[in-house]
């Protein structure tokens, strides 16, 4: 239709430049148009003044002036200049996406089959009349194809950017005039990167895309993400955040499950929310014994589901065998001291080392590694204090600690990344003078500027909205039941006013005095520097142990989770990490290590080596290089070939000193990524075409592609001038203008 009115395909106009071939300059044309409009105006108002006036006169003037302008433009010989590929001298690269998602069967045939049908249905023939054709098989690598059939095994992943880059690189020595990509756009590398787009644009090669596959499944469930900590302590309670989306199952119930091998760790029945919207559910589970674990989160397939392969995702968790040490300084014998110690003793993966002031000049130490440890009391050196992962301060006045010790505690949190917990008591928080720096800076609350905040009176506990779901305060898997369980806990025998929470602090629980009155934050947490700080504003939690049956584990669970929260994120001197612990159809492992000196300042002069062991006796040693911008950070890459589980031991050395080691695990899997986001990603294809000067086509529109592909500035092209004066649209316009005037005059009776 477009061509009928405008004589040429739309691509001619979008790619070409409209010019006027007439000998006289364009300003004369503009002058003549203005002059003719004025003359027509004069005639209309002067000669037709009695018959046509006002709006009618204006309409007649406008129609006549437009017609005059049209005739004048045509006299100036309009044309379009467009670059056109020279026949038989250019190559058109045809890329057929042969990744696994293209093998997906829809309406009786696979997406690849449909692409082949399009090519063999006339497109190749038409292209072949004017160009040489180079066919490629694209996916996770580019392969030249002589013929389309028979089909080979599909690629496990789609990396269109890499494939296009390779084509463009090859084209630098060849007259490639255009690229035609037949794909579903299901890209696994995160889209087409800017570097690839820039390279294509530099060579002015238009990439035309033909999209295959449904843009939206009618019925599908997809686990789109699973978030679990990359590492944790043995026997930790963890939450896996499973995100999924669905189409066609709104309001339906389904079961999500978390498994370690064949063992089910957690399961939950969920009701599907809004269509297409990501929905996240939390599954609580116990990390179990030490070792690398591959956890699989899945959602059971529902009836009629079109793609059940995207119902599961795996993640790797490194369960650490470490036994972090927590230093607890207590200023007086207290029941909470006893019962917190007992709770910690029940946890074989925690070590609670305590210093208790029994008399004004005597201390009693528990949990020490050797008789001399902490003999002089609370540590005064970095070496001694930083050997712990967390600190708990009980009923001990801030003034008991020297200025050096107070500053060390601040650095312990800020620089070392340790955890700090302050307990409510008669010598704690404001009553202990912690409302002054450096403690006032660290705490998640602004302590009141007064004494007498500690009250030995009963107070009940309620969780806040954040506390219902927090791991620290999880006594029940179900968040509502959890809140109820906390409400039913025996009252605390004391509470303390810790002031108001600071911006950024999270209050997980509140104490409610039994006698009524204001609620107070009971448990507030906040990150500070590299570490984390919490305040528990009561000294009477021991009643949870003494008032509940011996079988009840509420007290133990809370304090174990509290202490684990304190130590979980505390780094060692060497901390290794990788952005992805599961390489789904990817090979490149990125390793990052942070190395600290004894005082936990960045160590930029270390030699850091990653020793990798993998399946099929694969082993390698990678030297990590210092990051030029971030001191103490070392990075490296390695290509993992066989699929399976890998173990990486990162060792850091400074001269003769071994700084430390850290272990990380990762897993590589093939044939996974293609099952996700398997609908046609039209956005990726359209964007690619738009940015490179090409066009996106549906399979039904490819007949136009064969014609439009020739308008390109790449390859061997000539600039063609195409006349526009005889374009049917102009004559039609002239006809419309004149007949409109005639019809109007007839209606007005002024012919």
């Amino acid at each position: 239709m477009f061509e009928f009115f405008f004589k040429y395909p739309a691509a001619v106009f979008s790619k070409g430049e409209v010019v006027l071939l007439g000998g006289w300059p364009a300003w004369i044309l503009a002058l003549l148009i203005a002059g003719s409009a004025a003359a027509i105006g004069y005639l209309v108002w002067r000669r037709g003044g009695r018959l046509v006036t006002g709006a009618r006169a204006f309409t007649v003037w406008a129609l006549q002036s437009m017609l005059a302008a049209l005739i004048l433009v045509l006299l100036w010989h309009p044309a379009v200049v467009v670059a056109t590929l020279k026949p038989q001298q250019n190559i058109v690269a045809v890329l057929v996406d042969e990744s696994a998602s293209m093998a997906m069967v829809e309406d009786g045939s696979s997406r690849r089959q449909k692409a082949v049908e399009v090519l063999e249905g006339g497109l190749l023939e038409k292209l072949g009349e004017r160009f040489q054709i180079r066919m490629y098989r694209a996916g996770d690598g580019l392969e030249r194809l002589e013929k389309l059939n028979p089909a080979k095994d599909p690629y496990p992943a789609t990396r269109l950017a890499a494939d296009l880059k390779q084509v463009v690189t090859e084209a630098s020595g060849l007259p490639v005039g255009a690229v035609i990509l037949l794909s579903d756009g299901a890209e696994n590398a995160g889209g087409i990167d800017l570097e690839t787009i820039t390279q294509i644009r530099r060579q002015r090669i238009p990439v035309h895309t033909v999209g295959f596959g449904r843009e939206k499944f009618a019925r599908d469930l997809e686990v789109s993400d699973v978030q679990v900590p990359a590492r944790t302590l043995a026997d930790s309670r963890l939450a896996a955040q499973v995100t999924f989306r669905q189409t066609g199952y709104t309001g339906t119930k389904a079961r999500i499950t978390l498994k370690d091998g064949g063992k089910t760790l957690a399961a939950k029945e969920v009701t599907m929310g809004g269509e297409g919207r990501p929905q996240t559910e939390s599954l609580l589970f116990n990390a179990g014994a030490a070792g690398a674990k591959t956890l699989e989160a899945s959602i059971e397939p529902l009836q009629g589901e079109e793609n059940a392969k995207n119902n599961r995702q795996a993640r790797v968790v490194n369960v650490d065998n470490a036994k972090p040490r927590i230093l607890y300084l207590e200023g007086e014998p207290r029941w909470d001291y006893k019962f917190i110690r007992r709770a910690a003793e029940e946890d074989r993966h925690l070590e609670l080392v305590s210093i208790l002031r029994t008399t004004p000049n005597k201390i009693y130490r528990q949990g020490i590694a050797e008789p001399k440890e902490l003999e002089s009391g609370f540590p005064s050196t970095v070496d001694e204090l930083f050997s712990f992962q967390a600190i708990v301060l009980g009923s001990v006045e801030a003034a008991y600690l020297t200025a050096t010790q107070q500053e060390l505690i601040k650095q312990f949190v800020d620089r070392r990344g340790g955890g700090l917990l302050l307990l409510g008591s008669r010598s704690g928080l404001s009553d202990g003078g912690y409302n002054r720096p450096p403690f006032s800076d660290l705490l998640p609350v602004t302590l009141p500027d007064r004494k007498g905040t500690f009250v030995r009176k009963p107070a009940n506990v309620e969780l806040t909205a954040a506390g219902k779901d927090a791991l620290v305060t999880r006594l029940d898997e179900n968040s509502e039941k959890n809140a109820e369980r906390w409400k039913k806990l025996p009252y605390l025998l004391s509470y303390q006013d810790p002031g108001d929470p600071k911006p950024g602090a999270v209050v997980l629980a509140e104490s409610i005095p039994a006698a009524g009155g204001k609620r107070y934050p009971l448990l507030a947490t906040q990150n500070y520097g590299r570490g984390r700080v919490a305040v528990f504003a009561s000294g009477g939690s021991w009643r949870w142990q003494m008032q509940m049956p011996v079988e009840d584990q509420s007290h133990e669970m809370f304090w174990q989770q509290m202490l684990r929260w304190l130590v979980e994120g505390t780094p060692t001197r060497v901390t290794a990490s990788t952005p992805k612990t599961l390489l789904a159809d990817e090979r490149t492992l990125k390793i990052r290590a942070e190395v600290k000196d004894r005082t936990y300042l960045p160590a930029g002069d270390a030699r850091v080596v990653a020793n990798i062991v993998g399946p099929n006796r694969v082993s390698a040693s990678v030297d990590l290089q210092p990051d030029p911008v971030e001191p103490g950070v070392y990075e490296g890459e390695w290509n993992a070939e066989p699929a399976g589980s890998y173990l990486v031991e990162v060792l850091a050395q400074r001269g003769n000193e071994t700084v430390g080691r850290d272990v990380l695990t990762f897993r590589r899997e093939d044939g996974v990524a293609e099952n996700f986001r398997a609908e046609q990603n039209r956005e990726v294809l359209e964007q690619l075409s738009r940015q490179t000067g090409g066009r996106y086509y549906r399979p039904s529109e490819v007949s136009r592609l064969a014609k439009e592909v020739e308008y390109s500035e790449a390859g061997i092209a000539v600039r063609e001038t195409k006349d526009l004066w005889d374009m049917p649209a102009f004559f039609l316009l002239a006809l419309v203008l004149k007949s409109s005037e005639w019809l109007l005059r007839r209606r007005w009776g002024v012919i």
């Binding site: 007086e332 014998p333 005597k362 039994a514 011996v550």
Partner: protein, 269 residues
Amino acid sequence: MRLRLALLAAALTLITFGALYGQREFRQYMGAEYYDFPLPPDWDQKSEFVLGRLRYSTHPMFGGSRFRGSNEWWTIDYPRGDRHVLEGLRRLTRLNARSVEQVVDLEDDDIFNWPWIYAVEVGHWVLDDDQVKKLREYLLRGGFMMTDDFHGTLEWEVFTQTMSRVFPDRPIVDIDNKDPIFHVLYDLDERFQVPGAQYFYSGRAYEQDGFEARWRGIYDDKGRLMVAICHNVDLGDAVEHSDEPRYPEKWASMAYRIWVNYVIYAMTH
């Protein structure tokens, strides 16, 4: 009428509140030795540590009845001995101790509000099945019991008759010298028999056939003492009479040291 109703409502509210929220209020009982002992001025000050004195029934063998009466074996040294101990704990340690004891029993769940109990003259005690069960639960949850002032074979048998019902599966053992209870504050390797006030007229350090002091206990599964049994000694009398010139200082001092260690141990283990 209105006033009466209001008072009744207020009383009911207080009783309900007390039952739900309160540890039982302090009450001073009439003892076997002291009928009207003066209260210290800070008796009602809330504190971290409260010495619970266990009120129990006297064994029928000793003509005992249900402990409703006050003039019973459980009141021996009460309250003077307890007050002296508490004063000693306040003076010698950083413990925030209440100046007066709390009489507790195994009749209801109030016992769980007081994690430290002292039972005296347990060679005369008897507990019924419910009380036995409650005491077992109390100790397993983390409560601590110190027994004292019972002597010789007969009283030992009476004590163990009931104690073996509390823990049929846990033996009573001699506490090793290396146990932290003897070192938590004072090093008490050298312990000796501490006699009671009977020494004033008998001149003997022992009573009945209890010639030798025995420091025994019952441990939990984690190796922590739940019950500290002081047999053939009278630590209660020793502190009770520690301000009497005729009571030898060395016995009083030993008694205080043991008391302090036992309390600090109970609050740390």
